[in-house]
């Protein structure tokens, strides 16, 4: 069973910094779709113990990326952007939704709410 506490959207970076400065390892972010909202769970680890917090966002909101703080969050956030269409601000390296899916793949395939359109153009950078 996991325990996680809810934080506000603006507090994500502050929380992540707190975890970083206190020597927690980044484990992963998990995105869930709950009643036309997205819930993103951030999970950290220290001494085999997991610590999590989560945010609820509406599909149009932008989430501040923590990839500047935890570099390991980069592929995870790109994946969530790609699979669910959630937008992230200030990603260190933005794959623009082409990390896993090709140009002909379904768009945000893991979400039933469609919020993203793929802009044609640059392939992978």
């Amino acid at each position: 069973m996991i325990t996680s506490r809810e934080v506000k959207l603006e507090e994500i970076e502050k929380e992540a910094k707190y975890y970083y400065n206190n020597g927690y390892r980044f484990v992963t972010e998990t995105c869930l779709e709950e009643e036309s909202k997205f819930r993103i769970i951030y999970t950290f680890e220290k001494g085999y113990q997991l610590y999590s917090f989560h945010v609820y966002i509406s599909p149009t909101e932008e989430v501040p990326s923590i990839s500047k703080i935890y570099f390991a969050a980069l592929p995870v956030e790109n994946e969530i952007h790609e699979m669910f269409g959630v937008k992230f601000k200030n990603l260190v390296l933005d794959f623009q939704g082409l990390l896993f899916l090709g140009e002909y793949a379904p768009i945000s395939p893991q979400a039933s709410i469609e919020i993203m359109r793929r802009s044609k153009g640059d392939k992978n950078e």
Partner: protein, 363 residues
């Protein structure tokens, strides 16, 4: 003449001889040095996490077994443990021990496979053949005990499907003795060979702090001196077995190689311990056809590191969400960290040093 800084872009993959799996890297090269590296994946992406909507939770065991052919038993184990935690049942002791035995056999064969590929990456084909020949013995054991060579699908929710009887266990131990002898030889080659040292010592160094904060897992992390091994949390039968995480200090490719070779001996030892301690009893327990609502997490140490399963159910036969964070996905950040600054010739070795499993990563 004005010397311009010559930057050129070299694509690496997707189809290339070093790795059997397609990974694509776009390398920006300046004077033989890599300055930037951009990975591009997606050649193996299938979208397995979404199959939970179409297959019920029992059928999903078979699907997660096919995430990756190398550590399939551990994927099944991690998934089953998560579902078992969600339902709140306890697996019979014998099943726990059997899970350990098969998981450790998988670890040995995976490390041997990796060792061969590494040798092949720097052109030591002889060693590649040697380690794959040793690996065939493990494949024989798997085939004899579980019925298939690569994907054995022994786990079910609530236990395991097959048994290893005492006669088979005796034969297994005999085979393992020979495997151990051959791995000792491999160990000797690895510690004394000039070529291997030239190509691995000091390549791809990660300091202890870097490895820790980049969220790396498995032998990459332990090769940098951080003793984190999920098995010490005591899932399955590991709580009754005696072992220590294997750690090396140097943090380069050579240290990781040593970690993996030492882990093979450790795995052999664990199989022996498990066989000597295995209790009699049932193989699996009956489960109800419907799941309770809730969430569960399970973490299992795979050959490449820790795998993280998150499941969520709203009740009913089908899970609502399955999220898998595979070890290679966690190690990607460290690969992207190591590549800039290396020479072009070292790129295959660097890619292999994290033991990438692309079909895990992309699912």
């Amino acid at each position: 003449m004005i010397r311009m800084s010559e930057k050129s872009t070299i694509p690496f993959g997707p189809q290339h001889p070093v790795l059997p799996e397609p990974i694509h890297l776009k390398l920006i090269i300046e004077d033989e040095k890599v300055v930037e590296a951009y990975p591009a994946f997606g050649f193996v992406h299938r979208g397995l996490e979404m199959l939970v909507k179409k297959k019920d939770f029992n059928q999903m065991v078979y699907v997660v077994d096919h995430i990756c052919g190398i550590c399939s038993a551990m994927h099944g184990q991690a998934y089953c443990q998560a579902v078992e935690e969600l339902i709140g049942i306890d697996v019979p002791e014998r099943a726990k021990y059997l899970r350990v035995i098969w998981a450790e056999l998988h670890r040995i064969h995976s490390h041997l496979l990796w060792f061969g590929l590494l040798a092949d990456a720097f052109g030591f084909e002889n060693l590649f053949m040697l380690s794959w020949r040793i690996r065939e013995k493990i494949m024989d054991i798997l085939e004899a005990t579980a019925g298939n060579r690569v994907i054995i699908s022994v786990n079910v929710v609530g236990g395991v499907r097959r048994d290893i009887d005492s006669e088979q266990a005796r034969w297994l131990l005999d085979e393992l003795k020979e495997v151990e002898k051959s791995i000792k030889e491999l160990d000797k080659i690895m510690r004394n060979n000039y070529t291997i040292k030239q190509r691995t010592v000091g390549i791809g160094v990660l300091t202890k702090e870097e490895a820790y904060m980049l969220g790396t897992v498995g032998p990459v992390l332990r090769g940098s001196g951080v003793p984190i091994d999920m098995r010490t949390t005591g899932y399955a039968a590991y709580k009754d077995l005696d072992f220590e995480p294997i750690v090396e200090k140097d943090g380069d490719t050579y240290a990781r190689t040593i970690v993996r070779v030492r882990e093979m001996f450790q795995s052999i030892d664990l199989v022996r311990q498990a066989i000597s301690k295995i209790p009699e009893g049932e193989l699996n327990v009956k489960i109800k056809p419907n799941l309770p609502a809730g969430e569960a997490i399970s973490r299992v140490e795979q050959p490449r590191g820790e795998v993280f399963y998150y499941i969520k159910s709203n009740g009913g036969k089908y899970l609502d969400r399955l999220r898998i964070r595979t070890p290679t996905f966690a190690n990607l950040a460290s690969l992207l960290h190591m590549l800039p600054g290396s020479t072009l010739a070292d790129v295959p070795v660097l890619v292999l040093t994290i033991d990438p499993c692309i079909s895990c990563t992309e699912r």
